[in-house]
């Protein structure tokens, strides 16, 4: 029974982490209209920053406080990365921006692998000390439950933050720039500023997801942050609908649950899940290219019903 419960908790934490990633990617790709393919780089930066701080400060701070500090540090490092990439690269457009950001993420991965092993563990990976609470066979359920709570809280906060940002004056400017940069700049909007802000905000949320992931796994390797994960995030965003925040939550749940369920389905199905998974997504794209929600939110559906 506890095994089953652990499996579900694992799944749900995974959904939480990917919701964070998808929401932040959606801010950049969906709302700001930039074609960014290097989100897994920011994710890895956040995770490794958190792991590094945990190792350096273990014992000198009380556990939960250190936990929170590493989340903040992961966000800060990823945001700094976002700023460093964003300012030069946001001059690029479309596919050129995509390949530049993808190149950035590859640099992050290669750097982690090739730095001396005692800094970040190299390709062997890096253990992350359990600082939130002691984790053992008895407390596994409690640990995963607690992480789920934290992840849920983080998702709610981030979604609220991004929703409010989009509705703020600057968010409106961002949408205008995304729709038509020339027209927006003719109206006196500086196109660079909102784009950089959105990019840095998205990067820092990915860093938060990375820090959560590092603490949840207890061990991270460069293989955890491969391009495949970026594909997953992107699929979640497209599936839920570019420019829909609630779509991200639903999409994250669908994608992560499908992946996990196919993985433990009867052998005949499970053996082929790596083929079935992309196949399902390709079919989804063919039959509903705008995603589940399009640009709408869950709330819009209810509102329309009330009016009718």
């Amino acid at each position: 029974m506890s095994g089953e419960l652990l499996w579900w908790l694992n799944l749900l934490v995974g959904v939480g982490i990917f919701t964070l990633l998808a929401v932040s990617l959606n801010l950049i790709n969906g709302f700001a209209g930039m074609f960014h393919l290097g989100h897994h780089g920011f994710w890895a930066m956040g995770a490794y920053a958190a792991a590094w701080l945990t190792r350096e400060c273990a014992g000198s701070l009380p556990g939960p406080l250190l936990y929170v500090a590493t989340l903040g540090f992961g966000m800060a490092v990823a945001a700094a990365g976002g700023l460093a990439v964003g300012i030069p690269c946001l001059r690029l457009r479309g596919d050129y921006l995509a390949i530049a950001t993808l190149g950035f993420a590859e640099i992050v991965r290669i750097a982690i692998q090739n730095l001396p092993q005692e800094t970040l563990g190299g390709s062997l990976g890096m253990p992350v000390a359990r600082v939130l609470m002691a984790v053992g066979p008895d407390t596994m359920v409690a640990f995963r439950g607690l992480t789920l709570l934290i992840a849920t809280a983080a998702c709610s906060l981030v979604i609220l933050l991004i929703r409010n940002y989009i509705r703020s004056a600057q968010g409106r400017r961002l949408l205008a720039v995304a729709q038509d940069e020339t027209a927006a700049s003719l109206l006196g909007i500086d196109p660079t500023r909102p784009k950089v802000v959105a990019f840095v905000l998205g990067a820092s949320v990915a860093g938060l997801a990375g820090a959560l992931f590092a603490h949840f796994q207890g061990f991270i390797t460069p293989l955890d942050f491969q391009f495949m994960e970026m594909v997953k995030m992107f699929l979640i965003v497209v599936l839920g609908g570019m420019g829909s925040l609630s779509g991200c939550v639903v999409g994250a749940f669908l994608v992560i649950a499908t992946e996990q369920l196919l993985n433990r389905a009867p052998e005949a199905i499970a053996e082929w899940w790596q083929v079935e998974f992309p196949l399902l997504l390709a079919l989804m794209i063919v039959f509903r290219p705008q995603g589940i929600f399009g640009r709408r939110e869950i709330g819009d559906l209810f509102r329309r019903k009330a009016r009718a």
Binding site: R93, I99, A100, G103, A111, V231, W272, I285
Partner: protein
């Protein structure tokens, strides 16, 4: 230094081969064909099987001809096979989403890439395989009394499940006396020795192939009816359709041509590195895409120049950093250096070397 430069040129020629397919497909339907690296990988595998199983080296021809012929056949099989695969993929996966927008097409391409990669794992296993060395078959009677190199023979066995398994067996070790009677009585009247192709030869052939292919492609695109149709479609798809150009055929032809060239590149890459696995396509695919972007995506000469530049940069820049700047780990970082150069390059010339600047109509 010169050696690194030549190595880079050889590698760059392979990147150029892959980049051509990217750039042609992109030029026509504005799709980053993520599965292109997988066409390349399948080409490598087909070449592998052709070299291992066709047995062309056994043809009774004067010395270097059988080996040359074997490689020629491997290249042909690889090129045709991956070309056909591309046409089928285009028909099944890309045509239905062509009208659905660029993001949908891109996602489909990523999915196709994953599916092909995993099908290759299912069919051929995930472990790297050593690319077969060319063999020189000899009659036992023609051998000197003392073996000048290791000699091998094929052994065919039937397993308990009735499956035919072929394996290789070393029958004579270098320097050993050859017992002709024993070999013949064991049914090994013919044995072969393996030839290792020097790196310089492979490199030379790859560059030669690129030099030969470039005018062919140029001719196909600039001087044939189909090439004219391709250029028209890339200019304006809808207008071309209205002019009666059969879009579907032109797109299929483009996919075929791109993957055909990628198949050649796949065999060349695997011969250079001596191994093949289902993940072979990913990194060269990514790099070739970068090469296409550097050259200006959509431009054929751009893909050639971009590929060569990237190959040279990847080989020479780490060399300079190691030997001139004293950074000993430079070669482990060569991919990172390539990507950093790409980003820097894009900042200076955002549309690549030969790319047309984007016109913005207001």
């Amino acid at each position: 230094m010169l050696d690194y430069l030549l190595n880079g040129l050889g590698l760059g020629a392979i990147f150029a081969f892959i980049a051509l397919g990217y750039t042609m497909v992109y030029g026509i339907i504005k799709l980053i064909n993520f599965a292109h690296g997988e066409f390349f990988m399948v080409g490598g595998f087909l070449g592998f099987f052709a070299l291992r199983d066709l047995g062309i080296e056994r043809l009774p021809l004067p010395a270097p001809l059988p080996i040359l012929l074997a490689y020629f056949c491997a290249l042909t099989v690889a090129a045709l096979g991956s070309g056909l695969l591309a046409v089928v993929t285009e028909r099944i996966a890309y045509r239905p989403v062509r009208r659905a927008g660029r993001i949908a097409a891109l996602i489909t391409a990523v999915c196709v890439s994953l599916i092909l990669q995993n099908l290759a794992i299912k069919a051929w296993g995930a472990d790297p395989k050593a690319y077969p060395d060319p063999k020189v078959w000899v009659d036992v009677d023609d051998l000197p009394a003392r073996a000048e190199s290791n000699l091998y023979a094929r052994r065919v066995a039937t397993t308990s499940t009735g499956e035919r398994v072929e394996s290789e067996e070393r029958v004579v070790v270098e320097g050993e006396a050859i017992d002709r009677l024993r070999l013949k009585s064991e049914g090994r009247g013919e044995v072969y020795r393996k030839v290792t192709i020097p790196r310089e030869t492979t490199r030379g052939f790859v560059i030669l192939a690129l030099v030969l292919w470039t005018p062919v492609l140029w001719f196909l695109v600039m001087r044939t009816r189909m090439g004219k149709a391709m250029r028209a479609v890339s200019e304006d798809l809808d207008a071309a359709r209205l002019m009666g150009i059969p879009i579907d055929r032109v797109v299929a032809y483009t996919f075929f041509l791109g993957a055909f060239v990628a198949g050649v590149g796949g065999v060349a890459y695997c011969v250079t590195y001596g191994k093949i696995e289902p993940f072979t396509g990913f990194v060269p695919g990514l790099k070739a895409f970068i090469a296409a972007v550097i050259g200006g995506i959509g431009s054929i000469p751009g893909a050639l120049v971009g590929g060569l530049l990237l190959g040279i940069a990847e080989s020479v820049v780490p060399y300079m950093l190691r030997d001139w700047a004293g950074w000993r780990a430079a070669f482990a970082w060569k991919d990172a250096i390539a990507f950093a150069l790409l980003i820097l390059f894009l900042l200076v010339r955002p549309t690549g070397l030969f790319g047309r600047p984007l016109r913005v109509k207001v």
